[in-house]
Point group: C2
Chain length 168, copies 2
DNA sequence: AGGCGATTGATATAGTATAACATGTCGGCC
DNA sequence: GGCCGACATGTTATACTATATCAATCGCCT
């Protein structure tokens, strides 16, 4: 039942130590501004979903998010979580991490970025890095095949600095 | 239903037109050599699974592979397909395409490569491109975060040359 | 023959995701 | 005010993807 081998530190920080409450609040504010700019309605479920992702500062599965939402009086069915998450992803307020079948809040809402995800295989922390250089190389390789890249999933699995220092 | 070399869609070839029977046979031979080199046993189910992937020359879901295997007298249960696929992936004879929850035969077995996948969103063809430049950029970006990349999933979605020419 | 690890198969279940329908809410518009 | 359509939320039901576990078998070595 709860013999979870991985113990993702509750609200674990991304790679760099930081004041996470401020980091989450900050990002939420930017996300709200971005939603307003887009004319996207950040309703209660959606906002709460985003807050949950931001507070955790890690990738969360849809059902994990759903449990939290349900515990707070929202719907108990999968579509409740999936719809909110889909909304966030579509509007660039969150990202889907396919390697983990999970979702993570976007740390740079409104910046129109193509992220690369750095996923620690030990602590499950997920950091969003700038993909511009990677994307450039990708576009060039693809061009060599006559292929036009529209979207890319770039996800790296490895060791975060903290876990590497801890001797993995 | 399979003869016209000009039409990619069903079981379509990768991006470049080619003699697919030869392409598949060739790759299978190289895969067998690689398996032998590794001391990996390419048993009937495993070999047939690889052949199925090679013949299709596209990414296939585990259950799709399972249906084929079952129709040919192998087991009818999911683990049959998942185990064979896992074996192939572990030995570098196939790759997992997470974006599609699917698997594709490796076109360069034994070359110790880190592939990038180019996935056509129209015809579902999947090409395996050299990821070395992409991987280099990725490593550099990751290093900037103190992150050590061990494995990466690099998958691009877009338009293959044939579909682009056909006016998308 | 007997032991042993690897392989295959079946049963059962876990985990992830979406289709389809019902209800409610909030606008503009007559 | 009353109507209407767009959207949001919620529910039921189901589809799709993946793994844990036990049982039988096979190849190989002693
Ligand atoms: Zn982002
Ligand atoms: Zn870590
Ligand atoms: Zn390959
Ligand atoms: Zn195509």
């Amino acid at each position: 039942m709860s013999a979870d081998p991985k113990i993702p530190p509750e609200g674990g920080p991304a790679f760099a130590d930081h004041d996470h409450a401020q980091c989450a609040g900050n990002t939420l504010a930017r996300a709200e501004a971005e939603a307003a700019r887009l004319g996207a309605r950040l309703t209660p479920v959606r906002k709460r979903t985003l807050e949950i992702l931001l507070e955790a500062h890690r990738a969360m599965g849809a059902y994990e998010v759903l449990d939290r939402l349900a515990a707070e009086g929202f719907g108990h069915q999968p579509p409740v979580a999936y719809r909110a998450l889909e909304f966030l992803v579509e509007h660039g307020l969150a990202h889907r991490v396919r390697r983990l079948n999970a979702f993570a809040a976007c740390m740079h809402p409104g910046e129109d970025h193509a992220p690369v995800f750095l996923i620690c295989r030990v602590c499950d922390a997920v950091a969003e890095a700038d993909a511009a250089p990677v994307r450039g190389a990708l576009d060039q390789v693809a061009a060599g095949h006559g292929f036009a890249v529209e979207r890319a999933n770039l996800e790296a699995l490895g060791l975060c600095p903290a876990c590497a220092a801890r001797g993995e």
